[in-house]
């Protein structure tokens, strides 16, 4: 008896292989190129502008790992937000709302981001005050 192959069992056309490979590569490319980009934009004026702005009545915030110092007065971390909001609410002009942030060298980035976020939400304009290294030769 001779068995006949049904008509619906046909070989896959090999010409489709290129298209499948192409689509797979595009899929892997798209998956591989996804890198995190979500975040927060921050405008920090250039150094020379900072110096000009610091001459005005700006607020100075000192950051340490455990406390925040506002114009020389230390506050606990949980006290910082209401105080800075209250101070910035009284400021009218842009120059007055400049907040000079001076961090201790051991302040971690995560803490710095959290504190500057509080300042910016309260309407402050961040500028940085960095300690400069100076070499003094002693005779």
């Amino acid at each position: 008896m001779k068995l006949r192959r049904p008509k619906y069992l046909v070989e896959t056309p090999s010409s489709a292989m290129n298209d499948i490979a192409f689509i797979l590569i595009v899929f892997f490319l798209v998956c591989a190129s996804v890198e995190p980009e979500d975040g927060r934009s921050q405008m920090i004026p250039r150094s020379e502008k900072n110096e000009a702005q610091q001459d005005s009545q700006s607020i100075e915030v000192g950051l340490t790992t455990a406390t925040v110092i506002i114009d020389g007065t230390p506050y606990r971390l949980n006290e910082f937000q209401p105080h800075i909001q209250q101070m910035l609410a009284q400021k009218k002009t842009e120059a007055e709302r400049v907040v000079v942030v001076k961090s201790q060298t051991d302040v971690p980035y995560e803490h710095w981001i959290a504190m500057t976020e509080i300042i910016e939400r309260a309407g402050g304009i961040i500028t940085l005050l960095l300690e400069e290294e100076q070499t003094i030769n002693l005779n």
């Binding site: 975040g39 934009s41 060298t105 971690p108 980035y109 940085l128």
Partner: protein, 125 residues
């Protein structure tokens, strides 16, 4: 048939070129932030990894020369098109990240801190 091979080779070429700017080998963990937004575009990426090493577009760079290199990259691009992605490991201290921020600012870059959204309180055990 030849068209498929050409497309395949072109894709491999593009993949190899893309790997030159790849930063996947850099180890850093983003800090937590809220109300995060995606930048419309970006022209450069600065990474400070777990070891406090600074990278510009995936290439190690000295912080002292970062401003000059960024200036060269950003050129005369108009405001709004000078975004610099800033990816810093969450535990890096101010001694390392503040000079980099100053360099971006000096180069006229628009800083965009890449952060991680705060975990949903309902999913925290």
């Amino acid at each position: 048939m030849a068209m498929g091979d050409i497309a395949f080779l072109l894709l491999i070429f593009i993949v190899l070129l893309a790997r030159a700017r790849d930063e996947s080998h850099l180890v850093w963990q983003p800090a937590i932030g809220t109300e995060l937004v995606k930048p419309a575009n970006h022209n450069a990426s600065v990474v400070i990894d777990k070891q406090n090493v600074t990278y510009l577009n995936g290439r190690p760079v000295q912080v002292e020369s970062l401003a000059a290199e960024l200036e060269a990259l950003l050129g005369d691009l108009p405001a709004g098109g000078r975004t610099v992605l800033f990816k810093v490991h969450k535990d890096v201290i101010a001694e390392f990240f503040e000079p980099a921020i100053e360099a971006v600012s000096d180069a006229g870059g628009e800083l965009h801190h890449v952060l991680e959204p705060a975990p949903n309180p309902s999913t925290v055990p």
